[in-house]
Symmetry: C2
Subunit: 243 residues, 2 copies
């Protein structure tokens, strides 16, 4: 992947979804520039995972921006005093971070303009994690429309930017199967909200629940590294899986 390929900005959290998204963008022929954010999230080890993934997948560049989301508060994901929800949570979970994807995509847009890239990839998913409003297709469409009015580049071309969401209608199992076909090494990805410093999962949070369920439903071995005393069997199947 080199400079003869079109450039794309890929939002890379270090989790399963964004890593699969990066693999898809590369498979589509894009020269990928990965963007991660240090926003005071509890699970800071996902940032180390992002760096390892960016290296393993040979991205053109990986930037980690320190942004002050935790200064604003309003989420269990950035406030260690707030309890995390027990899986499976109902409605919009406490881990929702106000306007997070709006802020992430706004930075991706700035980065794309600086790079003269026209494509932005984000691994949002409206199926297995439908609680977050900023993961829905209508939000992405509205952001893309706004982006095409927001920049110097779009002042010259109003269809300059395209936001790609290759996972948006896939189940977690389908995402894992897709990534596996593309050779993604899921053992280096971190999804857990309570991961320890070396990225080992707690097996008990929402994110662990959906991830483990995804591997089970995909019929694939789960390469997730768990903390001592926890195993994949601790991530309890949901009632509908049991029945």
């Amino acid at each position: 992947m080199n400079e003869r390929h079109p450039r794309a900005v890929v939002l890379l959290s270090g989790g399963l979804d964004s890593t699969t998204t990066l693999a898809i963008a590369q498979a589509q022929g894009f020269c990928c520039f990965a963007l991660s954010f240090d926003y005071g999230q509890r699970h800071a080890s996902e940032l180390s995972a992002g760096t390892a993934i960016a290296k393993a997948m040979s991205v053109a560049e990986h930037r980690v921006l320190r942004i002050g989301l935790d200064d604003l508060g309003g989420s269990a994901l950035t406030d260690v005093a707030s309890p995390l929800p027990k899986p499976p949570s109902k409605g919009i979970p406490a881990t929702y971070v106000p306007a997070r994807n709006t802020i992430f995509l706004a930075y991706a847009l700035a980065y794309a303009e600086v790079l003269q890239a026209h494509d932005i990839f984000i691994g949002v998913n409206a199926i297995d994690y439908s609680g977050y409003p900023d993961c829905r297709p209508e939000f992405i469409t509205a952001f893309e429309h706004m982006a095409n009015l927001a920049t110097k580049s779009s002042a010259e071309d109003r269809s300059c930017y395209h936001i790609s969401t290759p996972l948006i209608q896939l189940t977690k199992a389908e995402i894992i199967q897709c990534g596996a076909r593309l050779g993604v090494d899921y053992s280096i990805t971190v999804s857990c909200y309570n991961a320890d410093q070396i990225g080992r999962a707690c097996g008990r949070c929402d994110a662990c629940y959906y991830r483990a369920k995804g591997f089970r439903q995909a019929g694939m071995p789960d390469p997730t590294r768990y903390q001592p005393g926890v195993s994949v069997s601790d991530t309890s199947p949901s009632p509908e899986e049991k029945s």
Copy 2:
């Protein structure tokens, strides 16, 4: 102005436009929460001005977020190695910062959601500074539409957020006349891109040019503090003013 009034987030740069916007929001009866950004701008003294203005105008709260815009580059406003344009600049000036207002408004949206505020004020202006694409009415409309799909609050009410742009169709002279009627003390505002550490203006940049022209056309004394050896007469009138 207290908690019985509806809350609004006001983007406050410390310049003439945002200060007037804050005065208008207060005059409309809002309890105002001011938001400023330290994004590596050359003219960091506008941040001190923002703090002084927030205090003088008794806002409910003033937050300054450190955001990594300068890490992305692409602007003469955050890159001291890039030359500033000579006034009056043509087209989109080099001081354009990629996706700046998209990023600022995204943070304002997050802050509004945390505060349970529904109103966001931004002092964009499409007349005297028409070069910036993210100051145009169609951009603001598109952002508002996106915002009403982006958040937990808007999942319940799709007309939850309103972006107010009270200056958007005013000339700089009209903005100054409006602010003067509302009692704004323009001597503590800083517009200059090259202001010194105590906020004194250079008299030669784009921002000084439009500000000085605004006071002349408003027929009002210019209270701007200039650096030693510079006076308001150094901000040269444009050819059409001379003719």
